[in-house]
């Protein structure tokens, strides 16, 4: 194997061995879980903060501005300062709100995105859990977030919040279908739901290129649907600050608002990761089947670099959407899904199945 030096699997398994030898299996697993939990928590916070920073910089450059530039070099610590501000802000209690649900909602949203991260392969061996139903799991947990949004809208006892939450419900339930079906298209090609197998399957070329036209269509549909599923512009109807002030999180303040905010950015990171993993080869370097010398050169870059690069590319596209498009109306949003994306997707799966059956893919 050429990129064995970057294989973190050997490191993690030897660490596992070490724990197993010194502790009882129960404690060994418990220690591992705590370590992974802390690692993901830290990762979550850092990535969330720097995605906010990245968005502010990207949108600034699209809007002829400079963006944050006061705290640290190039404003690098601006979002940390913002986080400290949000942590210290008062949590305003809302009269006549459903206290329990009101307090619980941000946690549901954030837990949903937190759980999805566990299944994403960041590099070879850098993978909290490698489910044999990885894609299915991610789809399942990431759609839990909408429950939190609906609860937040309902419990706030505010009509704007309620409208925002109902919009969000309609939107996510609809676009979940397109996200799922476009992923299924690639599952048909890969023949597996396990994320590590899917990444391995792209050793000789990413599915976006090897999967013929259906893979490209699936990728485009996924990009649109994933942007909608994360409630980002031009599909940010749940927030729609020019219509509903701030939609479902109008009544939230301080760190509870920050939870919604962070979860939005992490959801963007998660869908970008999925797009990178499923369509763009995940941590797999750019390989072309048969070109050994070229492939060897590509292998010198560590897999984490490839993974981050691809994810950043997809995230940039989603930011580009947000900062150049106007917002859709709710009926236009649902029309787009049910009249265009869904039929295209269904036909696309059939075409993909046919392509795989005939062996036309590369």
């Amino acid at each position: 194997m050429k990129f064995d030096i970057y294989d973190l699997g050997s490191f993690t398994s030897s660490f596992d061995q070490l724990l197993m030898e010194n502790f009882s299996p129960f404690w060994a697993v418990a220690i591992e879980m705590v370590i992974i939990g802390i690692a993901i928590l830290a990762f979550y916070a850092v990535v969330g903060l720097y995605l906010v920073y990245a968005e502010r910089k990207v949108c600034a450059f699209m809007q002829c501005r400079v963006g944050p530039n006061r705290v640290g070099p190039y404003g690098f610590f601006q979002t940390i300062a913002d986080l400290i501000k949000l942590l210290m802000k008062e949590l305003i209690p809302i009269k006549n709100a459903d206290k329990l649900l009101f307090n619980i909602a941000p946690f549901i949203v954030i837990i949903a995105s937190f759980m999805a991260i566990a299944a994403i392969p960041f590099a070879k061996g850098l993978h909290a859990i490698d489910f044999n139903i990885g894609i299915f799991y991610i789809m399942a947990v990431s759609s839990m977030g909408v429950v939190g949004i609906l609860i937040a809208g309902w419990a706030s006892n505010n009509k704007y919040s309620m409208i925002g939450a109902m919009r969000s419900g309609a939107q996510i339930v609809s676009y979940e279908l397109s996200v799922g079906l476009s992923l299924v298209t690639i599952v048909v090609l890969a023949g597996s739901l396990q994320l590590s197998t899917i990444v391995e399957g792209q050793r000789d070329g990413w599915f976006l290129f090897t999967g013929h036209i259906p893979a490209v269509i699936a990728f485009l549909v996924f990009l649109v649907a994933a942007t909608a599923e994360t409630n980002r512009g031009p599909f940010d109807l749940a927030e729609a600050e020019s219509e509903l002030t701030a939609g479902f999180h109008t009544e939230y303040s301080g760190i509870k608002f920050a939870f919604f905010f962070l979860a939005e950015y992490m959801n963007m990171f998660i869908v970008a990761s999925i797009a990178a993993t499923i369509f763009l080869g995940g941590w797999m370097p750019f390989h072309v089947g048969g070109w050994e010398a070229f492939n060897n050169i590509m292998d010198y870059l560590p897999p984490v670099f490839w993974y981050i690069g691809k994810t950043a590319f997809v995230i940039f596209i989603m930011m580009w959407f947000k900062w150049t498009f106007p917002r859709l109306r709710i009926d236009q949003l649902l029309t787009l899904e049910w009249k265009y994306l869904l039929p295209i997707n269904l036909v696309n799966i059939l075409v993909m199945a046919f392509v795989v059956l005939m062996g036309w893919h590369f």
């Binding site: 949108c59 002829c64 002030t245 900062w323 498009f325 106007p326 859709l328 109306r329 236009q332």
Partner: protein
Amino acid sequence: MAEEIIGGKLEEQEFSINMGPQHPSTHGVLRMMLKLKGETVMEVKPQLGYIHRGIEKMCEKITYQQSIHLTDRLDYLSAHILNEAVCLTVEDALGVEVPERVKYIRTIMGELNRIASHQLWWCAFGMDLGALTSFFYGLRDREKILDIFEKSCGARLLLSYNVPGGLMYDIQSDFQKDVKDFIQYFKKKLPEYDDLLTGNPIMQQRTKGVGLLTKAQAIDYGVTGPSGRGSGFSCDVRKHQPYSAYSKVNFKEILYTEGDSFARYRVRMDEMWESMSIIEQLIDNIPEGDFALKMKPVIKLPVGEYYTRVEAVRGEFGVYIVSDGNKNPLRMKFRSPNFSNLAVIDTMASGQKIADLIAIGGSMDYVIPDMDR
């Protein structure tokens, strides 16, 4: 509380919501009571009075020169044109003719004011539709005009450059060069606006066929300005009753007949081109002469009633003065375009979605202090 104000009973599945006076896209302190059925707007009731300052009453206590500075505060985005309206009324009542130079400069400044206002409208309209980037593009170019204003009269927004009988100062020596530079610059930048917003399919979906206003309705409600011309109502005072130097220039009155938000959008976009052409025709031909007539320090209008109308950025602006021969008017009344334009919003937005209500409000380009006065 909103239920009481909106009057009548709410039917099943209907609810009322209070939009404003503090809401991101009511463009000021406008309050709208909405009766909703799900996302659909059943009824809109605008409520005014949150920024009422009694300007008309204040005008009765001050001299005509002083009242210029209050008209700035009506439609602050077309301050120069409103100043001009008062000056024209006073000059008309006194029966004096201002020098040609004044007429030219007033027209040029007025058209610059119109472009600046349309730029800000474009920014805000994009924001209303959820396209946040347009805001910065519009403000970037508006800054150039405000710089010219600042260089000319020291103020950027509330100009008060006109005085009865002429202008407060002569134009600065770079004025012509600055304006020509700006026209050159903006001719390159205006197509960018089209690239960013006009051609966008989402934007067209959001505005085409939305907020329909027929020509008959526009005339009934007195909807003037670009909003009226988007419905095919020919109401440009510059064309029908030319004042200042408008009789000396060639320009088209922009008319679209669709009557939807997109038609109103296009009227304003085209008007920016027309304004630039008007300025270009005048800027090199500013005649030499005085920048103001010698007026008495206290102006007393002869007894009588006087009315003048001008084409402000948002429509026809009228000044009605009743004089009893004193140094201050007996009654001063402003016919503000926004007030009439707001009255029609219920007709246009009923049956549409909430998001459309915001887009319609944006396409009508409301300035709230102009309604409340």
